[in-house]
């Protein structure tokens, strides 16, 4: 060890003191933040419990009752409900009338009701994603600094996208429910409008990170604005765009299920009806179908995204929620 002279010793002590001071300050902040969070959390929980229809501790035993109620009469009931096979318990009530919902395609070949409804929900999600990304694609170039130099237009487009993103989906759905009456079109509108806002924001950030050399080259040979964007920027950003669109599709499948539950049709509505009427086999069949579909969609989309943009695809997950 090297002997320290008096001056160096003093400086070390000074550094040490400063370090301890900073550490103390940080600890104080951490404690204050934790106390603040605790206060906010307990106030929130108290408020939530107070304004809830049932109180937490009163209701918690019923949580398990609910799962007990969900047990079907026998294990095959779930499959009968899922594939619309006749049930031995059929007493003419809605609870066991599985074959009623069959959608006949050709002769005796039928699509079980819940599969049909699931396809409806998937179609809602696909159409909404298609229209939403197409519009978001167009808007993103107007919002990107490196493409659109007009500050005012950029500002307006960005605020517009923000409003579309924050606008509650159920209001859009509810409004179009009045115009079109019940059905999938209001759900498509609601999901698509939200998609435009969400995807537009992500897209213009991607566009702003694009390499502008290709664009410069095109400008040098006298290309106009549209061809500069189309040939200079779009090929670069396309993999990212597609990847975001797929992620959005995953989210939209869930969103269209929820919108379905509030009147947009599809599997969400069936689930809400089954749960609220206490039809255990139907509920479980729908949950099973929905779960499988969501897992399948997520896996498929993750696979394609990995092929498109590599490992980066997974880092994006949080950014899109």
């Amino acid at each position: 060890m090297v002997e320290l002279d008096a001056g160096a010793m003093l400086r070390t002590q000074e550094t040490e003191r400063h370090y301890r001071q900073l550490l103390g300050q940080r600890r104080l902040y951490s404690v204050l933040i934790i106390i603040g969070l605790l206060v906010a959390a307990s106030a929130s929980l108290w408020f939530a419990n107070e304004t809830n229809a049932g109180k937490f501790f009163d209701r918690i035993p019923y949580f398990f009752d609910f799962f007990k109620d969900l047990a079907p009469r026998d294990g095959w009931e779930i499959w009968r409900a899922l594939f619309d096979l006749p049930s031995p318990y059929d007493d003419g009530s809605l609870q066991y009338n599985y074959p009623v919902g069959r959608v006949y395609l050709i002769g005796p070949v039928y699509l079980p009701e819940y599969f049909y409804k699931m396809i409806e929900t998937l179609n809602i999600a696909i159409v909404a994603t298609m229209f939403g990304t197409a519009l978001g694609f167009v808007f993103s170039f107007f919002a990107a600094t490196n493409v659109n130099s007009n500050r005012a237009v950029r500002f307006v487009v960005r605020r517009f996208l923000e409003i579309l993103r924050a606008f509650p989906e159920i209001v859009v759905a509810g409004f179009f429910l009045v115009v079109f009456s019940l059905g999938p079109i209001p759900a498509i509108m609601a999901v698509a409008i939200h998609t435009v806002g969400a995807i537009g924001k992500l897209y213009f950030e991607v566009v702003e990170n694009a390499d502008m050399k290709a664009d410069e080259g095109l400008r040098a040979v006298g290309a106009n604005k549209v061809s500069r964007v189309w040939f200079g920027i779009v090929p670069q950003v396309m993999p990212n765009f597609m990847s975001y669109a797929l992620l959005r599709f995953e989210i939209n499948v869930r969103a269209s299920t929820i919108i379905g539950a509030v009147g947009g049709g599809g599997i969400g509505e069936q689930l809400r009806l089954a749960i609220s009427r206490g039809h255990e086999a139907k509920t479980l069949a729908i949950v099973l179908l929905l779960f499988t579909t969501i897992v399948a969609v997520d896996q498929l989309s993750a696979y394609i995204r990995k092929r498109l943009v590599g490992e980066q695809a997974f880092a994006l997950q949080g950014a899109l929620a």
Binding site: T51, A166, V171, F175, V178, I185, A261, G268, G318, A321
Partner: protein, 521 residues
Amino acid sequence: MTDLSLSEIEAVATRHPDLFQQGGLRRFLPVFVVAAVAAYLGYVWVFFDVSKVLDRADWEIAGNYLADWIAYEIRPDLHLEDGYISVSYPRYSPLGSDPHPEWVILERADVTIKEVVDAPQDATSAQTQSGFMVNAPVVPEAGNAVADPLAVPTKPSGFMGAGGLVGTKVDEAAPTEVQTRMSNEVVSAQVEIGDAVISVYPDHTEIDRANGERLLIRTSLENGVTAEGALPDWAEQKEVGGKIRMFFGFAGRVEVENDDVKVRRRFLGWENFFFDTRSAFWGKTLGEVVQMILSSEEIVPGKANWQVAYSDIANNSEWQHGDVWTKLLQTIVMAFMGTLLASMTAFPLAFLAARNISPNLLLNQGLKRLFDFLRSVDMLIWALVFTRTFGPGPLAGISAIFFTDTGTFGKLYSEALENIDDKQREGVRSVGAAPVLVQKYGVVPQVLPVFLSQALYFWESNTRSATIIGAVGAGGIGLKLWEAMRTNQDWENVAYMVVLILIVVFVFDNISGALRKRLVE
């Protein structure tokens, strides 16, 4: 730039055949994609039966509801009686219980009214009349003048000639009897709406527009509603003798039926936003309200004036401010608590699920599948399940967000942990630190900013999700919005709640954005 001759261009093309002669798939890929999209859209068109839905779409109602977002209607109802008009307003009119708007000018006069009386009375006093016995001159009354008996001249010179009253004997065997009496009633009304003036009389209605267009509509119980001349394009009649509806753009519309003229006049703005018509502060200017609050004179005995003002605002029957604010707070609480609890639960679990941190493969895989399960069972399913358990309210919403996001956070956190730089951990371990300390000093500092920034992202997005799952019964502003939309009456309330939600989302967006920026730097 050098100009290329044709032979030079061809030379370039032969040197790079791969660029100019791309494979069939690559060359036709755009065409394939467009064709596939078109085919799919065609299929969806059929699947959803879009043409039929569009056919049935009611765009007129959409326009009306859209206007209701920012406007309110005053709806005088002019009922055409036999010889006079009775004017009424809906029970909860925005103008209070006894409205007299100045754009409705009423003319009053003494008229004789026929009444059918059940009990037989002295037959000679009963008189039958054509009913149109007006005692002129009439006095125009505007605005809030209530019938003043003294102001009405009583000298009769009616349509029915000298004296006016012609008595005839009624069949005495009749079980009912027609009786007449004199009364001061409205005999004509002039309503301004947009650029038009609607003059309503008991047997006809005239519409005069500023551009000189004029429409005369005759109304009678026997012949229904008939317009004189062709109907202009701003009026419609679906069947002969049926009601005629006239549209004046944003200003409103008028419906003429054979015994009724319904006026719907629209005004820009949100009516009675602070105080409803029952409040003592109703219709006062801001200065007057402040003065009333500050004055020592108690409006409600035993209660301070500002308390009265606050409770009047919170309990506003039309806008229900208090309820809306509570519900909005519920939604905020749902998002906040759901995200907080989920990230706190996922934090330790993610360490157990990351294969580079806990070497137990069974535990890793088990937890990861659990995360996938929680995430993939949709938030909707959780919301419905917990609504059944706890009843509608924020507890159901908190639980739904908590369950879904524990899965999402678990997945994201464990993936972040698996991607950490191992060097720091090794360094801490090499000086002999205990396993917990290795995590605390070797791992947590690397991932904490990412964890927190993810949590903030989800807090922000859950504020939006909480609105939606609220509508399926999880409580909060979502349910309130849905109820307001279901009744189709309160689109201005919907607009109000949407504005509140947008404000909350923007505020949280900015808070979370600013925090994330500080975390990452």
